[in-house]
Amino acid sequence: MTGSTDLKEFLAAYLVEAEEHVSSANARLLALEAAERSGTHDPKALRDIFRSLHTLKGLSAMVGVEPIVGIAHRMEAFVRGFDRAGTAPSLQATDVLLKGLQAIAQRVAALARGEAAAPPPPELLAELDALDAKAGPLAERSGPDLDLEPELVAKLVPFEVEQLVRGIAGGQRGVLAEFVPSPARAAEGLSINTVRERLAAVAEIVRVLPRALPLSPESPGGLSFQLILLTQAADEQIAAAVGVPVASLRPIRSGAVADVPAGAFPDASVPFDDGDGADGFAAGVRRGIVRVDVNRLDEAMEGLATLIVTRFRLARAVADLAARGVNTRELADVVADNARQLRTLRAAIVRVRMVPVSDLLDRVPLLVRGLQRTTHRSVRVELEGGDAELDKSVSERLFPVIVHLVRNAVDHAIETPDERARRGKPEEGLLRISCRARSNTRLELTVSDDGRGIDSQAVARKAGRPVPDTAAGLLALLCIPGLSTRDVATTTSGRGMGMEIVKRIVVDELGGELELETHVGTGTRFTLRVPLTISIVDAFAFECAGQRFVVPVSTVDEIVEVDRSELVQVPAHHGGGPELDVILRRGQAVPVVKLASIFRLDAAASAAGKAIIVRRAGAPIAFAVDRMLGQQEVVIRPMNDTLVRAPGVSGATDLGDGRPTLVLDLVALGTTLNAGAPAPRVVA
């Protein structure tokens, strides 16, 4: 027989889907809780949670992940009771459900790491079993109040009727549209799925009902779909999305409808189980989206990287031919085309790897919720993610950073409600995270709170260093490894935990910037600027004392000619530090560092005719180099070997000549100079 189909093959795809269902259920559970707090009810969210749990259970059983089956099964059974009654679980029950989801998430993560999923903790199962599945009395419902055919109303579930009535009362228009599928329309790409996607941009889809029609040339499939919509868009937009004439749309009004036909309003207790899937469209799992294992994208990227290196070699070979007097015009055109195509391909792959920042931020409310309960703080979270996107690998690295900053803010910075009241602040603290794309290459993310601020004297005392007089100096102290003792963090500074990790990831790994602004008594703001993508970057290649280097274009402020007569020499500080000159740029004195002397290259061989200016925490610093070789895309290979890792060097690349070329991080290099750290020594 064909026992050869091993369902374990589907584990990777399963993990991706499982993760989506867990995060969707988390978000909806919080939405449910928020709705409940504000005195409303969100039956759609409840149904989505039920569905996610049910799918998790079924999928986990298929691929043989029994621990998740056990947890999901109990949670599902509990949630079903509420779905039937049309009420929401209590806050305590929500806690247990969140715990359950967390336990599932942990097991999914373990499997993703190649470990086994641990059996569910008996305490958790006991807690889930102990949940009182009695959901309380049925929620009261108002009668339907819509001028729709009773047959149609009868097919709606109560919360859909409520959704319509409420939407219309809230100023939206109810619209009934009809889409008739046909082979011709399918050939044009018009199907019920695409119609729904197009409608989703202009309307809220309350329900889609299939309707059997007699077979005719107008309805070759003997089928139409009736779409019940809420919208603020014009009829023309709706009609265009459905692909029908405007005249075919029908308004749905909500008003005083005297008599509701018996049985037209379904009983709220109709059980929702496997078979009754009427739950609207917000299933939480996005449609029209292909899930791809990120490793496959990395493979594509790796393939592209080798292509780019090949192109460098090609360009080099052509240049050699040209130097020997061969006419290479046609060849050069081909190479230029090839370069353009590679750039397009690269942009396409990079786009595929981009994930919305909101995915990252959506996890914050859950985190804060947990922290609030353990720390007895009351915190309101404001997220402003916009539609910025960033590379998945950057996003993954950034998440622990956000966790650290959020944890510090809630744990330490934001005062207890009592203390806040004493200080005349609102009892509820505010944690705000906002982010926006600063340019095509950088994302700026701020995490701010209105807590107690950081006491720089206390931090300095703890660190055994002089009191810093700038925010940057204070940040440097906070990032000293080991300065994370709890007493500083909790009683005086409000910060300190894990800041060295934050700095390591943002600055050292991602090549970003970290800034701090804090005011004692009123709050703290951290600003992170990180590249949207890593690994392949546009870079300037240049030469210095006979060595080639590259520097990412995104880090360069400008490149200037250096006229030796303009240089002003200032005495070197810290004794053996590198020589320091200064040039004037727009009335500002900019320190000039000779790259040759930093890297202890033969300074005599260096002409230092150009300077590359970068900004470090807003202040310009210039690096004198011999000459620029041009701009090109480079593939950065990280240097993870600690033996060769040096500050200021972010990796190595191959410019097509087969020799490793160092990719410099001049911003970091500027930082080590100022800190008086020993300069790295280059052996190339």
């Binding site: 189909t5 589907f10 795809a13 049910h54 799918t55 079924g58």
Partner: protein, 128 residues
């Protein structure tokens, strides 16, 4: 060639079903990710069998089944319901709604192959 419509909102689940059934030679597969899409596809092209999940957003499996059985052309279409709810009560409810056969998750490749072979009118011999 037997054409099979595989309906499930979980892509992993659809892929698993197709991977299992590929062992039956002479079969081709069409995916539908929603109940509505399934209804649309059934109305526009002939199929020899539908493998249908019950728990889906928008239109669930039972609703698809009821719609299908209300259509003259589709009354005879074999429908294999695949569901996590394997109890006798669910089985009866599903069969009452018009399912031809019923398979509880988790199932083994052999189990679904056997079911589908029995449902396909001119089941072809296995490659194995």
């Amino acid at each position: 060639m037997s054409s099979i419509l595989v309906v499930d909102d979980s892509k992993v689940m659809r892929d698993i079903v197709v991977a299992c059934l590929r062992a039956i030679s002479g079969t081709s597969f069409v995916h539908a990710s929603t109940g509505l899409e399934a209804i649309e596809r059934l109305s526009l092209a002939p199929f020899d069998l539908m493998v249908l999940d019950l728990n889906m957003p928008d239109v669930g499996g039972i609703e698809v089944l009821e719609f299908v059985r209300g259509q003259d052309r589709l009354r005879e279409l074999p429908v294999l319901i695949v569901t996590t709810r394997g109890d006798e009560e669910s089985r009866e409810r599903v069969l009452r709604a018009g399912a031809t056969a019923f398979l509880a998750k988790p199932f083994t490749p052999d189990a679904i192959i056997a079911q589908v072979r029995a449902l396909l009118p001119q089941a072809v011999e296995s490659r194995a």
